[in-house]
Chain length 307, copies 2
C-alpha cells in the first residue's frame, strides 16, 4: 500500500501571537493557521505540516504541537534572516468581536514554503489562508491530490480577485466566513452567497459563522449545523482553523469526500473548535483526548436531535 493514501497535508502560518481576552492576556504564544489545523487534525490521523518560521522563533516553540503526536514536521522551514509572523489582537466582552492590534507578516510576505519530496503524494490537502497565487504554487507541487480545500479571506477577495478566481477553479472545496462569502459573490443573503460560491469550485463550499454555526453547499444542496453552545470561551483564536483541521482529519481518516461525510466532518470540526477556544494557544487541545472529542460529539448531536 502506498504511504500517500489517505495522507493529509496542511500548509499555512506559524504565528507568535499576543492575545487579550476577557479571560486574560498572554504574550508570544504559539499560534498560526497551520498549527491550529494540524493540532485538531492530529486526533484523526497523521498530518503532514508545511510552513515557514523565522530565525526569531523561540526554542521549543513548536513543542506543544510535537507532543500531540501524529504531526510530521518535515515541512517546517526555519528561515535564516527572516522573522516569524506575529499577530496581536484583543477580544471584546462579546468575544465574537475582536480588534487586530498588530500584524507583522515577516516570512508570510516572502517566498512560500517548499513541499518536501516525501509529502508530494499527499491526497488530502488544506491550503490555509494566504495569497492565492502562493496557494496555486503550492498546489503545483502536488502529484495527484484527491481533495484540495483552501480557505481565503477578505483581503484577497478585495485585492487579488483575478488570482483568486483562477485559484478557485482548481479547488475541490473552499472554506470561508459569511462576510467573505457575501463579499466574494456580491450577494446580500448568506445562503444565496454560499450557493453561488459553490459554483466557483469543483465540489463544495463551507460557510463558517463562528458562534452561529456553519453551512455546507455540496451536490446542489444546502446543509446546516449550529455551533456547539459554549459557556466558556477563553480565546477564539484558531477556532476556524481547528474546525477545518478536524473536518479534513476526519475525511482523510475515512477516505471520503461525499456530502454526508463532509457534514459529519463539519460536526467534528464544530466539536474540536469548541474545545480549542476554552483556553489560549493549544493549551486545551493538549489536555484533550480522542475520547473527550467523541463524548462531546455525542452530546452535540443530542443537543440538536429532534425526535
Amino acid at each position: 500500500m502506498r504511504e500517500g493514501i489517505m495522507s493529509l497535508l496542511v500548509t499555512g502560518s506559524i504565528g507568535i501571537d499576543t492575545v487579550e481576552s476577557p479571560a486574560g492576556r498572554v504574550e508570544n504564544i504559539l499560534g498560526g493557521s497551520a498549527v491550529y489545523f494540524a493540532a485538531a487534525a492530529s486526533f484523526f490521523g497523521p498530518v503532514r505540516f508545511v510552513g515557514v518560521a523565522g530565525e526569531d522563533m523561540p526554542e521549543d516553540f513548536l513543542a506543544p504541537l510535537e507532543k500531540m503526536g501524529n504531526v510530521d514536521l518535515t515541512g517546517l522551514e526555519v528561515r535564516r534572516g527572516s522573522k516569524t509572523f506575529r499577530w496581536a489582537g484583543r477580544y471584546h466582552a462579546d468575544v465574537n468581536q475582536r480588534d487586530t492590534l498588530d500584524t507583522r507578516l515577516g516570512v508570510l510576505g516572502e517566498a512560500g514554503p517548499t513541499i518536501p519530496e516525501k509529502f508530494r503524494d499527499s491526497r488530502y490537502v488544506f491550503l490555509a489562508n494566504t495569497h492565492p497565487a502562493l496557494q496555486a504554487q503550492l498546489l503545483d507541487q502536488l502529484a495527484a491530490p484527491k481533495l484540495v480545500v483552501a480557505d481565503t479571506m477578505d483581503l484577497w477577495i478585495e485585492r487579488e480577485s483575478a488570482a483568486l478566481q483562477a485559484m478557485l477553479g482548481r479547488l475541490d472545496g473552499l472554506v470561508l466566513n459569511d462576510t467573505e462569502a457575501r463579499q466574494l459573490t456580491g450577494q446580500a443573503n448568506t445562503v444565496v452567497a454560499g450557493a453561488k460560491a459553490a459554483e466557483m469550485v469543483k465540489r463544495f463550499v463551507v460557510v463558517k459563522k463562528g458562534e452561529h454555526g456553519s453551512l455546507l453547499f455540496a451536490g446542489g444542496k444546502v446543509h446546516v449545523l449550529p455551533a456547539y453552545p459554549s459557556m466558556n470561551v477563553v480565546d477564539p483564536t484558531g477556532a476556524g482553523d481547528s474546525f477545518a483541521g478536524a473536518m479534513m482529519g476526519y475525511l482523510a481518516s475515512r477516505d471520503r469526500r461525499d456530502p454526508a461525510s463532509l457534514l459529519k466532518g463539519m460536526a467534528y470540526g464544530t466539536v474540536v473548535a469548541s474545545l480549542e477556544l476554552e483556553d489560549f494557544s493549544l493549551n486545551k487541545l493538549q489536555r484533550t483526548s480522542r475520547a473527550d472529542i467523541d463524548a462531546r460529539f455525542k452530546e452535540y448531536l443530542g443537543m440538536m436531535r429532534v425526535r
Copy 2:
C-alpha cells in the same frame, strides 16, 4: 371531555404595518404579534385569539386570518374612539437589519383586552410582548393554565425591571432574542445568559437568533437548532411570532411540555417562520398547507442530520 383541554390562547397585538424591504414596499397591511402567532398556530389546531384594534381598522382587515380557519376571534375587541397599533419599518439589503420608521401605540397604550369567559379555561397560553404588568393582568383572568409562555422585549427589560421580574416567576417559559437575554441577565455570553434566564422562570427559555437559529434551556440542559437556510427572504416581520405560534400550536396539539417536545415544537417554529418570511403579511402562510409544512420539516431535519 372538557373543551378547554389542549386549548391554546394567544393575546397580543393587531397591527397596521407599512413595510419596506429590498423586495418592495407595502402599506397598511395586516400585522401584529397575535395575528402572526395565530396564523402559524392554526396549522396545528384551534387557536383562541384575544386582542384589541381601534375604530380605524379597515373593514375585513382580519379576513386573511379568518380564512385560515381554526382561529376563534371571540376575543377580538374593536374599541370605539381608539386607534389601531401602527408600525412602519424598513429592512436593509441585509434583511437581518431594520430601522423602525414609525410606531403609533394607539390601543396598545390603553387598557388591555378582557379574556372572554369561554376562553378562561385555556390550558396553553402565549402572552405576546406587551407591558409585563398587563401580561400579569391577563394571566390573572385564566383559571388553570398548564403552560404559560410569554415573550418580552428590550424596552421592558430597561424600563420595567421590577414588574418584569415579578411576572417571570409566574411563567413556565420565556421567549426572547439573544440581545434581550444578555440584557436581562447582564451576561456577555448568550449561552450563559440563556441558562441564567431559565433560572428566572419555571421551566424553560427559548433564545431566538433570527437567521442564526435558536437555543432551548430546559431541565438544566441546552439544546440548539439552526435556522432553516432561506434563500428567499421577502419580509422578516412576524417571523418570531410565527415561530412561537407554531411551537405552541404543536405543544398544545400534543398536550406536551417536556424538553424533547419543546425542541420539536421549535423545529416546527423554525419551519413555519421560514415560510412566513417569504412574502408580506400572511400572504405566504395563506398559500401554505399542513403538507407543505411537513415537507419542509422533513427537508429541514435532513439538512442537519449527521450520519
